[in-house]
């Protein structure tokens, strides 16, 4: 880059750059070893995700993630030991000038947060995973907002102070975006958490003119973030923060409960982009790599979920799905259906050669996974082949059903994805549907007017016998559409709480 056209020119330029950097940031100039350490932790985070390609490598992957995080934290702590104010940069490595009180506060903060996190992680029930993940997302979002504000209030410490005593315009843009994305992640995740935890109605809340309001707010946030580059006044950043909190809230309230897998994935993605934006502000490789990984991960999961529902991402985000379909079965003719008992089911399951179980959100609600696994064990003892079929959108978050079955000690090689097992229904004696509904609705294949038309579904109608566990004939799934499977000749409706019904079947199978 720097040719020796002017003798000594290179050295002068280099000198000028170093002294400018040092003048602006006492000890924020990151040493080379620290940059390498951050790079190493970024690579370890990549390995953490890579490990998840199979359950057998996943546990090692998680350990790589922990090591990466430890490296990033220790590196930051070591390169940013608090020093007594007024200390010269050269004196940083002299422990006499270290501010141990501040250091203690930081360690205490890590211990408090870490302790809370650890206890929550130990105690949480597996059925509550979706809301836990949403709650954790909100914390990342809020942390991003706080870090962005901290950078705004003390730009010198972050090395983003320009020579003119103002924050570098590009850094302002990055910090502004980080704060905006963080705030959206926070308020959006709080609403998602409340809906998933049942503390707020899962039904879509539709405000009049909501698209106009949302779009206007988004444009205002982007405009203000651009304006922030020219004017670093407090009101600009404060308005961006408030508007972003507001839009996160407005964006999520119109989205219904069963679209939550997409929402949770989307917020996952946002938390990544917020971390990446902060990484740009701090010029930190670990944060940028992580942000990009998490951002792509959430985006891909959102895409998979949307595809599994045959819905456009925008239509999910626009919200309101399921709100228009009036009260269930109101104008529908009464069609005949057959009610079965636990004894019938136990008998026929015991006689079957091959049973495919399709779990859905209802299984999670009634915590029926353990009873279900017992049923499978009893059947296997009778020589029946048992498989589980999982739809990508079953449950309230990606992979929700898989975790619950794993919790109940179901071996993961008995659990199959939609495209791997769908052809097997033709050879199955029994399709056992527990707490699922829309994912087995044949209207998705045949009825072009159905709201779920085009969604890939299980071909349960090809099985010789169908058992459908459902609490009552009243509810008709999230999409609010009737399900022809209820009325098929080979279908027996088992109307009861899922867990109680399976336990009754187990009693029948045991003798």
């Amino acid at each position: 880059m720097c040719e020796e056209a002017i003798p000594g020119g290179c050295a002068q330029v280099a000198d000028a750059m170093t002294s400018a950097a040092n003048a602006a940031l006492p000890h924020a100039a990151t040493p080379a070893w620290a940059m390498l350490a951050y790079l190493a932790s970024g690579v370890l985070f990549i390995l953490a995700l890579r490990g998840l390609s199979s359950p057998s490598t996943s546990r090692a992957g998680n350990r790589y993630g922990m090591i990466g995080m430890t490296i990033a934290m220790v590196t930051t702590l070591v390169t940013h030991i608090p020093v007594i104010p007024g200390t010269e940069p050269d004196e940083f490595y002299n422990a006499v000038y270290w501010d141990f009180a501040s250091f203690g506060e930081i360690l205490a903060a890590i211990a408090i947060g870490g302790g809370i996190g650890w206890v929550i992680a130990r105690r949480i029930a597996m059925t509550d995973m979706p809301q836990l993940v949403a709650a954790f997302h909100s914390l990342v979002g809020l942390a991003a907002v706080l870090v962005g504000w901290a950078a705004y209030l003390n730009p010198e410490a972050f090395g983003i102070l320009g020579a003119d005593g103002q924050i570098n315009p590009v850094s302002r843009l990055e910090a502004g975006l980080g704060i905006a994305i963080g705030a959206i992640t926070f308020s959006g995740s709080v609403i998602a958490f409340l809906k998933l935890a049942g503390k707020m109605s899962g039904a879509p809340i539709l405000l009049p003119l909501r698209h106009v309001i949302n779009l206007g707010t988004l444009i205002a946030i982007l405009g203000l973030t651009g304006y922030f580059m020219t004017d670093q006044s407090l009101w600009v950043i404060a308005t961006i923060t408030v508007l972003a909190f507001l839009i996160g809230f407005l964006l999520i309230i119109p989205i219904g409960g069963a679209d939550m897998p997409v929402v949770v994935s989307m917020l996952n993605s946002y938390s990544g982009w917020a971390a990446a934006a902060m990484g740009f502000t701090l010029h930190n490789t670990a944060m940028i790599i992580t942000g990009a990984l998490v951002g792509s991960s959430g985006a891909i999961l959102s895409y998979i979920m949307c595809k599994a529902m045959n819905r456009g991402f925008l239509s999910v985000i626009a919200g309101g799905f399921g709100a228009e379909a009036g009260p269930a079965g109101e104008a529908k003719e009464q069609r005949p259906w057959k009610r079965g008992s636990a004894e019938d089911a136990a008998y026929m399951l015991g006689e079957a050669e091959k049973v495919i179980i399709i779990p859905g959100y209802g299984m999670a609600v009634s915590q029926a996974q353990h009873a279900l696994r017992e049923m499978a064990d009893l059947l296997k003892a009778k020589g029946v082949e048992v498989k589980y079929a999982i739809h990508p959108v079953a449950g309230r978050m990606p992979g929700h059903m898989n975790v619950l079955l794993a919790e109940a000690n179901v071996p993961y090689d008995e659990v199959f994805e939609l495209e791997d097992i769908n052809s097997e229904f033709a050879t199955a004696d029994v399709a056992f549907i527990i707490g699922a509904n829309d994912v087995v609705n044949p209207a998705a294949k045949t009825d072009k007017s159905s709201p779920i038309y085009g969604m890939p579904v299980f071909d349960v109608d090809k099985a010789k016998q169908v058992f459908f566990i459902k609490r009552s004939m009243g509810g008709v799934g999230y999409a609010g559409v009737d399900n022809d499977v209820f009325y098929m000749d080979q279908t027996l409706m088992l109307l009861a709480d899922a867990k109680k019904m399976v336990e009754d079947i187990n009693k029948g199978l045991a003798h």
Partner: protein
């Protein structure tokens, strides 16, 4: 580092993320979300810098609060991921 170098790292990491995440088995999508949650708390780096810096009391306290929040996520996220992954077992043969 200048902006272009950082942008290059970012764009490359997006591509790495794209291919790595597509190779994640769908059965592990919930642990994927939990672990991405934990690693996105690497934002704690920024929080630690703010908490350690002198010069602005406001910045320092915001930093300390962010350290607490991010720590909840880091310890909670990795622990809950480990707990979930420990449950995935193969058939006993």
């Amino acid at each position: 580092m200048d902006f272009i170098s950082i942008l290059s790292i970012f764009v490359m990491a997006c591509f790495v993320g794209y291919y790595v995440v597509w190779s994640v088995t769908p059965a592990l999508h919930t642990p994927l979300m939990a672990v991405t949650n934990a690693i996105s708390s690497v934002i704690i780096v920024g929080a630690l810098i703010a908490a350690a810096a002198a010069g602005s009391a406001g910045s320092k306290w915001l930093g300390l609060l962010a350290v607490v929040l991010a720590s909840v996520n880091i310890f909670g996220g990795f622990a809950v991921t480990a707990r979930m992954l420990a449950m995935y077992k193969k058939k006993d043969r």
